[in-house]
């Protein structure tokens, strides 16, 4: 006998429908799975066999062949267990005709325990979204583990959540009413956790008004920013509080991120990513882990930071390879990973916060402490950040240590809520400005949009000329300067860019300013 069960799979971060075909025929007892399964899928055999036996059904001592179709796409994950088990039960006629009919319009996505318990799988959200989007028109019921219920609700699907294989079969046979398996009580509430995550606030950072202002601008226009300064100046402290001033996610944005986290099995207790992600990988990270890859391509940190923040502390300590691979995702806002048979696309629209010391020992340029580095060492250290990479960073500032005497006198800083209010206002202006285009923030403006929205003020000519000459700013950085000036104007609610906005941007362009001691 043969049976056909629906299941789903993931390619990149998109789900698609897979049919699990099971053939049970006479012959020596074997059990094989075909259709490019990886080890996780192959191990399914032992789990399925035990689960069937331990649920009170018989496991056929016959030749069993399971085909995962379409057969040319690689399959991975443990979520095929349930579909395979149901397939075997169906093919060996352990289910009634009535149940078989129900099965044909259902999809089963879950892992099985040896005792027949139904366990959660990763990537449920994009799989269900694929079904919603109409990739499986014939499907009208979804079976998954109770632990995946939240993701189902996010995708606006009402699934059935049986506890075990036995329960499921009872239900299919009509011996169990639907309401036992339908569970709608799992409300998505992150409120408590939100408080836990934060507890961080900009008001805790005293002084560093320049850095705070720069971060406010970065948040408002989604600009990438480089913080440079000796250890202990508050680079990480500031970066970690950056999330508290970012504008809230839209529902679509949140859904996009939740999909990514679902695929990576990183949702955990969070259930729904209604907070912008903040990723801070260690500097020993490989280039693959940063942008994604592997034989079965998985998203990297840049994708996990999608619609959020990628914080690279000790920026110059990252390997050159890791830093250079960042260029493409920063430019095109997605990562394409190509393999011989397929290529997948991951989104990667993030705000980069990079932090670094001014030199390997960290004390260069400080009056109080002697820098031990030779000029050649410093050049090598700074040289690790290549020109093309620096070109993608709009704001760069130097932080200086706050002296204890000054620190004591400083009053508490402005609270995140206040700053966020201004950021949101500025972002609203941008949303209105770009309502007819794909652009979402000033940092992503196209050349055409720049021409339209970044008109130079009349008296800017002399300001720019002076700056170019005296500060040694390059013409190449002019675009970045204008984009940033546009954001400052937005923060101040000004319809036009003014000279004072441009002048302020010069403070944030330390990377292309001539230093004193060259």
């Amino acid at each position: 006998m043969i049976s056909k069960i629906h299941c789903t799979a993931i390619k990149g971060i998109d789900g698609f429908l897979v049919s699990v075909e099971t053939d049970v025929s006479a012959g020596l007892p074997t059990f094989s799975i075909v259709g490019l399964p990886d080890t996780e899928v192959k191990e399914s055999k032992d789990r399925v066999a035990s689960a069937i036996r331990n649920s009170g059904f018989s496991f056929p001592l016959k030749k069993i062949t399971v085909n995962l179709s379409p057969a040319k796409i690689k399959k991975s994950g443990s979520h095929y267990d349930l579909a395979i088990a149901i397939g075997i039960l169906s093919a060996t006629n352990q289910l009634s005709e009535n149940a078989k009919e129900k099965i044909s319009t259902s999809v089963f996505v879950a892992e099985l325990g040896l005792d027949g318990h139904i366990k959660p799988a990763s990537g449920i959200l994009p799989m269900l979204m694929a079904i919603k989007e109409g990739k499986g028109k014939q499907i009208n019921s979804v079976f998954l583990s109770y632990d995946n219920l939240n993701e189902a609700i996010i995708s606006k699907t009402q699934p059935f959540c049986p506890i075990s294989l036995k329960d499921l079969v009872y239900f299919l046979e009509g011996n169990l009413t639907a309401d036992k398996l339908l569970n709608t009580t799992a409300a998505i509430s992150n409120e408590e956790e939100k408080l836990e995550v934060h507890g961080l606030d900009f008001s805790e950072v005293k002084g560093q008004s320049l850095a705070k202002r720069a971060l406010e601008i970065a948040a408002a226009g989604s600009h990438n920013i480089l913080l440079s300064g000796p250890p202990g100046t508050g680079k990480s402290m500031l970066a970690k509080r950056f999330n508290t001033i970012l504008p809230p996610l839209t529902h679509d944005e949140a859904l996009e991120i939740t999909r990514v986290y679902s695929v990576c099995n990183l949702l955990g207790k969070t259930k729904f990513m209604d907070e912008r992600p903040f990723r801070d990988p260690h500097h020993t990270i490989s280039d693959i882990a940063l942008v994604g890859g592997g034989s079965n391509p998985r998203p990297g940190e840049v994708t996990l930071a999608h619609n959020g923040v990628l914080f690279l502390d000790e920026f110059a300590e990252f390997s050159r390879a890791s830093l250079e691979v960042l260029r493409q995702p920063m430019e095109s806002f997605n990562v394409t990973i190509s393999r011989a048979k397929e290529s997948v696309n991951f989104p990667s629209k993030f705000t980069l916060i990079a932090a670094m010391n001014p030199c390997p020992c960290g004390h260069n340029g400080q009056a109080e402490r002697m820098c031990r580095c030779t000029p050649a060492q410093i050049n090598r250290y700074k040289g690790k950040i290549s020109g093309p990479l620096l070109d993608r960073i709009d704001l760069a500032i130097n932080l200086n240590p706050v002296k204890y005497g000054d620190w004591k006198k400083l009053s508490e800083g402005e609270s995140s809520t206040n700053i966020k209010e201004r950021v949101v206002k500025a972002r609203d202006i941008q949303v209105e400005r770009f309502k007819n285009s794909k652009t979402t923030a000033n940092a992503f403006m196209t050349n055409k949009e720049m021409k339209q929205f970044c008109k130079l003020p009349d008296d800017a000519g002399s300001v720019l000329e002076n700056a170019m000459r005296k500060l040694g700013l390059s013409a190449r950085s002019l675009d970045k300067i204008l984009k940033t000036a546009r954001t400052i104007a937005d923060l101040e609610g000004e319809p036009d860019i003014k000279s004072s906005h441009i002048i302020e941007v010069f403070q944030y362009r330390t990377m292309d300013r001539k230093g004193v001691a060259e």
Binding site: G207, L210, N364, N400, S500, V516, A517
Partner: protein
């Protein structure tokens, strides 16, 4: 130890060849000449024969001959002439007199550009790790001297050296660089442009090393004796207590020449060496005029009396500044401040502070480095 004599062309080539051995000291060399008659003969000896003279060790003798044989003197001359340079031997008429009296005079001098042995020369040296204060001072002293017709001699290194030489070049005045590489090279590479400008403005680049010699650490303390030797005085702008600049000062004192030092803040590492020099008897240096005044009467006629203030400096008119700008300047006068400091001390916002500092910076009054602002030019109220 030197006897006046015309050297044959062959002998010249042999001496250029022997100079390839960078450890060859003049006193050894002349003792060897006494024993073997000529440089040509030295080259013909075996290492054993040279060592038997008891002047140099066997190892040194081996290295001397080995290194000498890797150098083609004809090529050296050709390369030097190609860049409009010349090679001077210690025996030559136009070899600088002031170097001849050194304990260890360079046997060979490669000179590129326009070297005037008669010019009054003053060494301006200092740390590579320059502070804004050091930059202002080097700039001012070098400009003062250059305007008075004095040639600034320095080492083309990073920091004080290049600042001092840049200041001379900016005024289109000659300046001499004594480098720690062959004259065919430039170290550090970022000063290549400066080296060209020095040559374009009638200056010279001088070295005792073979044309293509790379920069090796031990070259630098040795070239300092030439800097001190060429110059009438040595001015140290900034330097740590143990630094190359202090070696130059020590060598100058050994040569019986006056040392000037710019006093600095007592808590600044870069002024540690200069303050120590002053305590030990060096003349405190407040302006180029201090050096000009110290020049003996017979040379005073060479001094040009010219207004030493550069054009830029003249254009700075403190009186025209706004009150807040003056206030900012007063704050920054004593130390380096960041924009944050200005924000806190003047109680203004980042945006206002940006405009304020930008205006002062484009006027040339302030300079910024790594987010810290300091006075750009030397000026007093």
């Amino acid at each position: 130890m030197t006897t006046k004599m015309e050297l044959s062309q062959q002998e010249r080539l042999a001496r250029i060849q022997l100079n390839a051995f960078t450890y060859l000291r003049a006193d050894w060399f002349y003792k060897l000449i006494e024993v073997f008659g000529s440089a040509e003969n030295i080259l013909k000896q075996t290492p054993m024969a040279l060592a038997e003279s008891k002047i140099i060790s066997l190892d040194s003798a081996k290295n001397l001959l080995k290194e000498a044989k890797t150098l083609n003197p004809d090529e050296e001359i050709a390369k030097t002439e190609k860049v409009n340079g010349k090679i001077l031997l210690l025996e030559d008429e136009d070899y600088p007199e002031s170097l001849k009296t050194l304990k260890e005079p360079p046997l060979v001098l490669y000179i590129r550009g326009n070297f005037n042995p008669q010019a009054i020369k003053v060494a301006v040296v200092g740390t590579r790790k320059i502070t804004p204060y050091g930059k202002r001072c080097a700039d001012k002293i070098s400009a003062d001297l250059s305007c008075a017709g004095i040639v600034v001699v320095s080492g083309l290194a990073r920091g004080i050296d290049s600042t001092a030489q840049k200041a001379a070049v900016a005024l289109n005045k000659p300046t001499y660089s004594v480098v720690g590489t062959g004259i065919g090279r430039c170290y550090p590479a970022e000063n290549r442009k400066l080296a060209t400008e020095i040559l374009d403005n009638g200056g010279a680049i001088i070295s005792e090393l073979p044309f293509d010699k790379p920069p090796l650490p031990f070259h630098f303390p040795r070239r300092n004796r030439i800097i001190a030797g060429l110059s009438m005085f040595t001015a140290v702008i900034e330097g740590e207590e143990k630094s190359g600049a202090l070696i130059t000062a020590k060598l100058a004192l050994e040569q019986g020449k006056d040392v000037f030092a710019v006093p600095g803040p007592i808590d600044s590492l870069q002024s540690g060496g200069t303050n120590m020099l002053i305590r030990d008897g060096a003349t405190p240096l407040f302006s180029g005029q201090d050096i000009i005044d110290a020049i003996p009467m017979e040379f005073q006629k060479n001094i040009v009396v010219e207004d030493s203030k550069s054009k830029e400096e003249k254009s700075i008119n403190i009186a025209n500044l706004s009150d807040i700008e003056k206030q900012t300047l007063e704050l920054i006068a004593s130390s380096e401040l960041s924009l944050d400091d200005i924000v806190n001390k003047l109680n203004i916002n980042v945006s206002e502070a940006s405009t304020l500092l930008f205006n002062l910076e484009v006027k040339g009054i302030l300079a910024s480095k790594d987010g810290l602002y300091s006075k750009n030019k030397f000026f007093s109220y």
